[in-house]
Amino acid sequence: MIRDFEYLTPKTLEEALTLLDKYGDECKVIAGGQSLLILMKQGLVAPEYLIDIKGITELNYIKSDAKEGLRIGALTPHRAIEKSPVVRNGFAVLAEMENRLASIQTRNWGTIGGNLCHGDPAGDPAPVLIALNANLKMASLKGERTTAIEDFFLDYFETALEPGELLTEIQVPVVPPRTGTVYIKFNVIESDLATVGVAVSITLGSSEGICQDVRIALGAAASTPVRAKQAEAVLRGKKITDNLLREAGQIASTEAEPISDIYASEEYRRELVKVLVKRVSREALARAKQA
């Protein structure tokens, strides 16, 4: 049962920030509500004031620039990202990830900002954006700040958003040449949340087959989306071989801190990390070679 609340609909970012500042921890923000309403129906979230920001059209945009890269407004629906020619052509892995996120109906109404602020470690966008080295812009009445996305997640469903702050923009830098990024999630039913999800970005150097840079991001493998930095170190600066990939997968599985739940045990999740890091890295490498 949802508890009664006062309902506010700011039309601009400024209005929303003023309301957030005024109501402090008595309020909660709703965008598409595709994650929030489930919690509210279960009585897990019951604010006095609900601030509906879905109407703030100024935060719904997808922009791309040869220098700045991709800029996505926090209130952009998943479906818009999935269908965007700009995203499909320059940042295909984002469109691929969105295509596998929940269902069309959810993607029509839910927003990428809402997804990130919900802070579910099993969410799809976070690992992909970590692999893409994205930054997040946040605003409050005090001003704006930007943080690397991997520093945005603090714990289960807890983000680095300060009171009075709203996520406003996702910034994805221009993809370096000879880079391949791939995301695969394992689940029982397609479009479910990941049992484990892995996103890998590999950048090849000018020397044949040498991995100049690599980013490995794990979803549903810890209390937040995480980078498997030790696994990355196995590959960085080396010519990637199958043995090396196997080693990276093995190390990543020890870096992960997965939970056991009804979908999988901790052991199984570690095994999934081991296999997926190897598999996804191999695919990212193939994509990098074609880039």
Partner: protein
Amino acid sequence: MKKELRFTVNGQPYELYIKPKTILVEVLRAHLGLTGTKRGCDSSSCGACTVILNGMAVKSCSVLALQANGGEVLTVEGLAKGNELHPLQKAFLDHGAFQCGFCTSGMLMSSKALLDENPNPTKEQIKEGIDGNICRCTGYNSIIRALTGVVKGEYKEEK
């Protein structure tokens, strides 16, 4: 404090005063008596509650009713024109694309949204278009056949 909800449903304008916590599916079923839209799981998993809001298929169990303010909703009751069934409804009947019928409203709305966006989907695209709707009875093939029939033009509306 109740808030005003003004929107059109199946072409008909409505003005209601509702508690802000009211969910769209509650407004449609309880306030407007349009019980064609079903509440299956109430948790965004099954799709039986699918309606078309502002041209997009959404799960009405997971949309705050007030977010439809100023908008347009199409429910299954809005598919037929008087006594003339929608091509999708005719196709579903012909192909036996339902058994218990509980998922059917949602399936029809997702199908309509799919064909509105892409009138010529491949079989894979059809499957993708309904993948937010669960059917316990049919095994989906009859639904896919019905949709394929519509795509092939077997149910062209008479001019």
